[in-house]
């Protein structure tokens, strides 16, 4: 079933074709949990792929909705700056610097400091440990009873991984989930469930705990966890506390919301596409390809934002210096000029890796291989144990124009 066909709450969200183009505002977070955004993006891709909107909530911004235009913006980092930040809304007064929201040269320097923690060689070393933990989590699940897959599997596994990457006290690992949720929510992404003051207060606590870890790692020989890598590197060891916090938020969110929601998204996709589920059971060697397809289909982060540093022509429009530009990855991944039958979930899709979920260019996701490995292991271990992870109710989705996430996914397990 295509996602475009999912019903929308007509009473609340108007049909996109009933609106004049300039009233379409893809920043409206309510579109996403209702799954109404698909039809809106479809119209923009067809009628106005480089689209200008005077948003009340976020100010004026451009929406880039086609795959190739997104690649163009993402690869022209000298024209499209990642500063001051990479989500659609501007920060009110709390904006810790982080390297994803920096330009060259500082971005490159900081990124290079932390990549060894997720290098392919490092990953092959941790693979057996990840597999063991995934197995333990799956073995602890209640069989035949309804439970929330998001909480017991997706959050649990990504949080365990994060605790390992930071070498964070394992028993307290759910704090990482909490801080990640706070970092990725708030008014900047259309979520009004918490105030900036509250976010600041909670993230200050996060910083205090990480400061203690920083001191501890600094006093020890260098290891391969993120904190140790930063604390021992001449280019990062003198970061001020806000910059440290910013980079922590980046690494926590980068490793959390993304993989977590792809772990949930895979369950949703397979349940909505039973023929693909059968294909998978018949041939588990399709898993690596399916992982890329899940990451495309789910697109866990819907957008990244840039700011034009000069006037740029794109798609027949002139983007002016200083304008805000939002690349909608979630729309690029449904562009039928680049991806064949883009609304369909096809686990043996040719060129499944050719999606835009990781972004392209110098800001491309640095944890992509780790994400793929975690999801691959998860499905390999599921297939060893269960004949079906059955979705037994409607998924509950989070309200955000940034994180395409689930808060509740009621499932029932059937053993083999």
């Amino acid at each position: 079933m295509s996602q475009a066909a999912v019903k929308t709450e007509e009473s609340v969200i108007p049909d996109p074709y009933s609106l004049p183009l300039d009233e379409i505002d893809m920043g409206k977070a309510a579109l996403y949990p209702a799954q109404a955004h698909w039809a809106y993006f479809e119209r923009l891709r067809k009628e106005d792929p480089v689209h200008f909107c005077e948003s009340e909530e976020f100010g004026p911004y451009w929406s880039i909705t086609k795959f190739n235009d997104i690649v163009h913006v993402d690869t022209h980092h000298k024209q499209f700056s990642s500063e001051p930040q990479i989500v659609i809304g501007d920060a009110v007064d709390f904006q810790p610097p982080m390297f994803i929201a920096m330009d060259q040269p500082k971005h490159d320097v900081q990124r290079k400091v932390v990549t060894p923690a997720v290098s392919p060689v490092q990953l092959s070393e941790v693979e057996p440990m990840i597999r063991k933990r995934v197995g333990d989590v799956l073995d602890s699940l209640p069989v035949g009873e309804t439970f929330n897959w998001v909480d017991l599997v997706s959050i649990e596994l990504t949080t365990q991984m994060l605790a390992t990457l930071f070498d964070f006290p394992f028993e307290e690992r759910r704090k990482l989930t909490y801080w990640s949720d706070i970092s990725a929510s708030g008014p900047q992404v259309g979520d009004d469930s918490m105030t900036e003051e509250f976010r600041l207060q909670e993230l200050t606590k996060c910083l205090e705990e990480f400061n203690a870890l920083w001191q501890e790692r600094k006093a020890q020989p260098r290891k391969n966890d993120f904190i140790s890598l930063m604390a021992h590197h001449p280019d990062m060891q003198d970061m001020d506390p806000m910059e440290y916090l910013g980079n922590l938020m980046l690494l926590i969110v980068g490793g959390n919301d993304t993989t977590r929601n792809s772990m949930s998204g895979g369950v949703v996709a397979l349940n909505q596409n039973p023929a693909e589920y059968d294909k998978l059971r018949a041939d588990p060697s399709l898993i690596p390809n399916m992982v890329s397809e899940i990451i495309r289909w789910q697109t866990p982060l819907a957008h990244m934002r840039r700011n034009a540093l000069e006037d740029v022509e794109l798609g027949g429009k002139t983007i002016k210096k200083g304008d805000k530009v939002v690349m909608w990855y979630i729309s690029g991944n449904r562009d039928d000029e680049v991806i064949d039958r883009p609304d369909d979930f096809i686990i043996d899709r040719p060129k499944a890796r050719h999606h835009v979920s990781f972004g392209f260019g110098i800001h491309r996701c640095m944890g992509n291989r780790l994400a793929e490995m975690q999801i691959k292991i998860l499905w390999e271990e599921i297939l060893k144990r269960f004949s079906n992870v059955e979705l037994v109710g409607e998924p509950v989705r989070v309200t955000s124009n940034f994180v395409m996430g689930y808060s509740d996914l009621p499932v029932k397990l059937h053993v083999k």
């Binding site: 690649v71 490159d108 290079k112 392919p120 060689v121 990781f358 392209f360 491309r364």
Partner: protein, 106 residues
């Protein structure tokens, strides 16, 4: 036709005929040579087509531009002869070229 030799990290050698004008990334994908992902489709934007160009051929493959240099910074285990295969086009000049594939693409 231009002859190109790809050597996998484990030593497996693939000698293939490439169509002139196709990039060494496109050729590798067409011929199903393992170890070159080419995620961005040749836009010099993902660094998953990293190869080591045999020294004897390095000069003939031309200069890296700024974008390629930037992207290579993020690849795993780069060396002086590292290039992105999507930025090298098969041509008569390169007939016989040998490239090695790294252990993994990031």
């Amino acid at each position: 036709m231009v002859q190109v030799t790809y050597i996998e990290h484990n030593g497996t050698t693939h000698e293939v005929d490439a169509t002139e004008g196709h990039s060494l990334m496109e050729v590798a994908i067409e011929k199903m040579i393992p170890g070159i992902d080419g995620d961005c489709g040749g836009a010099c934007a993902c660094a998953t087509c990293h190869v080591f160009v045999d020294e004897a051929w390095l000069a003939k493959t031309g200069q890296k531009d700024d974008m390629e240099t930037s992207m290579l910074e993020f690849a795993e285990g780069i060396e002086a002869n590292s290039r992105l295969a999507c930025q090298i086009k098969a041509s008569a000049d390169l007939d016989g070229i040998v490239v090695r594939i790294p252990e993994s693409q990031h």
